[in-house]
Amino acid sequence: MTDTRLDTAEGNLDSPVPSGERPILEVNDLVMNYEMKTGMVSAVEGVSFKLPKGKSLGLVGESGCGKTSVALTLMQLLANNARILGGEIKLDGENLLDLGDEEMRKRRWNEVSMVFQGAMNSWNPVYTVGEQIRETMDVHWNPKPTTAEARAKIEELFEMVGINPEMIDRYPHEFSGGMKQRAVIAMALACDPKLIIADEPTTALDVIVQEQILEELRKIQNELGMSIIYISHDIAVIAEITNIIGVMYAGKIVELGPTTEIFANPRHPYAWLILSSTPSITGPRRVLAPLEGEPPNLLDPPSGCRFHPRCPFATQKCVDEEPPLADIEPGHAVACWHHEQVPVTLATVEA
C-alpha cells in the first residue's frame, strides 16, 4: 500500500469515518427509477454511504452511471418522470425524504447547496451575479438581509473565493468561466449550508483554472469545516480532494472506502480497471489498459452483478447472484464475488 500510483494531494487525506460521531449525511438503500414509455430505468439502485462532518466524499464513474442522479435525488430536484422508490437520506439526523415539498424547498441551499457542472449556464443571464446570490439570502435568511448586510456578505464571500468585490454588480456574461465557477462557490456558501454537492465542478474549465477551483474548494473544506460531496467522471480530480470515494457502476456503488485505500488497493474489478486506465506522472511508466465494452442499458440491466458482461473475472455466479456491498476491512466495502482475485498491481497491456 505504499506505492500510491496517482498524484493524491497530501494533507487532507486523514483517516476517514471516525467512529461514534453522527455523520452529517447518511444515505441508506436509495432507489430511484425513471419512468419511460418503454419501461423503468433503474438509475439509482440501493445506494448507501455515510459522510462524516467536515469530510469530503467523491462519487466517481463513467457518464450515465447514476452519479448525477444521486446528487439530484439528494436534492430532490428530479424530472417529473423520476420515482424515488425507497431508502433514506438523513441530513444531520433528519430524513429528507419524509419532508413535504415546501419543507424541502426551505432546506435546499439553506442546508444543502450545489455547485453545478458548467457554471456558464448556472447563471441567469438577465440578472447581475450579486442579485442572484442575494436571492438565496432573501429566500432563506430570517429575517431577510438589508441591502447593506447582503452586500457585505457577498463581498466577504467574493474575497474568500478570490473575486474582486467590485464585480458584484456585473452580469454573468462579463465573468470568465473560472470566475463564474468561483462565484457559484461563493453563492453556495451564502446561507452557510451543512453540505455542498459539487457536480462536476471543474469539467468545463481548462486545466489551470480547474486547479484553482479545486484549491478553493479544498480551502473551504479545511477552513470552514464544510462537508462536500464531489461528483466527477475524472478520477484524478476526485483523488486530489476527497477523503472517501464511492465508485459507481450502473446505478450502484460497487466500492466504497477511504481515498488512499482505494487508490492503493482497488478491490472491485471495475475500480481496478478505471484506475488502470488513468495515467500517472510520478508512478512507473506503463501502457494503459483500456476498459472495454459499453455501459449497460439501464432499462434492462444485466442480471446478477451488473458489471459481469465487461468483467475479466466473471463467473456463472456473477450472472446469477448479485454481490452485496460488504466490508472487506473496516471502512472499505466492495460488491464483488471475486475481489480476492483482483491483482494488487494495475493492469497493463502487453506492449
Binding site: 430536484l77 424547498r105 441551499w109 443571464p125
Partner: protein, 387 residues
Amino acid sequence: MLKFIAKRLVQMAFLFFLFLSLVFFLLQAQPGDITSQFINPEIPAAVRAQILARLGLDGSIWSQWWTYVTNFFTGNLGVSFSQFPKPVIAVVGERIPRTLFLFTFATLLSYVMGFTLGKRVAWKRGGFSEYTVTIGGVFLYTVFYPWFGILMILFFASYLGWFPISGFLTPEFWRNAPFTGNQVFGQLLLSLGIAAAVLVAGLLVARRVPERSTARLIRRGGYVLSVLVLAGFWILRPEMRPYAFDIVHHTILPVVTLALVAFAGTMLLTRSSMLETLKEDYILTARAKGVPEKDIRDRHAARNALLPVVTSFILGLAFIIGGGVVTETIFGWPGMGALLLNATIIEDVPVATGALAFIGILALLAHLLVDILYNVLDPRVRVQAGN
C-alpha cells in the same frame, strides 16, 4: 443609449425612404396615365403642358420621384381628391391619434394576456388545459378576422347589447354637445399620456433604487399615483366626462377584438419560448436554491422567455396593424385603416398612399420602441450597444 437610438433612427429613416420610393413607383406603375385620367383631353396641347408643369408632372420620372420624396418630408402630401381641397396631411393627421389609441391599447392588452397565459400553460405542461389553450390559440390566430369581428359584434353588441354596434361616438348624444369629438378625444389622450408618464417615471425611479423593498414601494406608488392622476384629471372636467365615457364605451369592443386575435400569436410564442427556457441550467440552479416555484416561473423562466417574445413583436406588429385596418372597417372606427380602405375604394389615390406611408411610419416607430425595450431587457445586448 442615445447613440444607439440615433443610429437606429438613421436606419429607420433609410428604410422609410426606401418604402416611400416603393410607394411612388407603385403609383407610377398603375395602369393608365394619371394625366389622361384627370385632365380634360380636349384642352389644347399648350395649356395642357402648362397644367402639367404646374402640377410638376413635366419632368422625368426621377425628378418627379425626387419631388415626391422631398414634398413628403416637408409635410406636403398633396390634396385629397374626395375632400378637395383639404390637404392629405390634414385628413391623415385627424385620423392618426385614433388609430394610435386603438393600436396601443390592443397591443398592450394582447401582450399582457398572451404573455401571462402562455407562461402558465408552459409551466403546467401537458393535460387537457394545454390542448384546449393551444387549439383555441391557433384558432384565434388563424380565424378569418373580419368574420370574427362580425361575430363579436353580433354577440356583444346586438345580442347582449353591452356595447354600441359601431362608430366612434353616438351622434344623437352629441347633437347639443359643447365640445367636438376631437376635443374630447384629445383630452382623453392627454390624460392617458400623463398617467402613462407617471407610471413610467415610477418604474424608472424604482430601477435606480438599490433597496428592493423600497423599489417595490415606489413602483406600486407609481401605479396608484397614475390611477389617481387619471381620476383627478376627469374629476376636474365634470361637463366633459359623459362625452369621454361615450367614446371609451365605443372603443372597448374593437380593442378587445383586436387584442384577442393578436394575443394568440403572443401566447403560442411565449409558450414555446418558456418551454425552451425551462430546459436551461439556471432554472435547475434556481430550484436548487430553494426559490419558490412562482418566483422561478416569473422571475427566472418568464423573464428570459420574454426576450424572443419581444423580438417577435416586429412580426406581430405587421399583424396587428393589418388587423387594425380590418378592425376599423368592421367597427366603423374612423382611423387610418378605415381611411386607407375608403380612399382605395373611391380611388382617392393621394389619401390612400398618404395613409399607407403613415402606417409605414407607425410601424417603424413601434419597431424603434421595441428595439429600445429589448435593449433595456437584455443586459447582453446592452453591453454590445455600449461598446
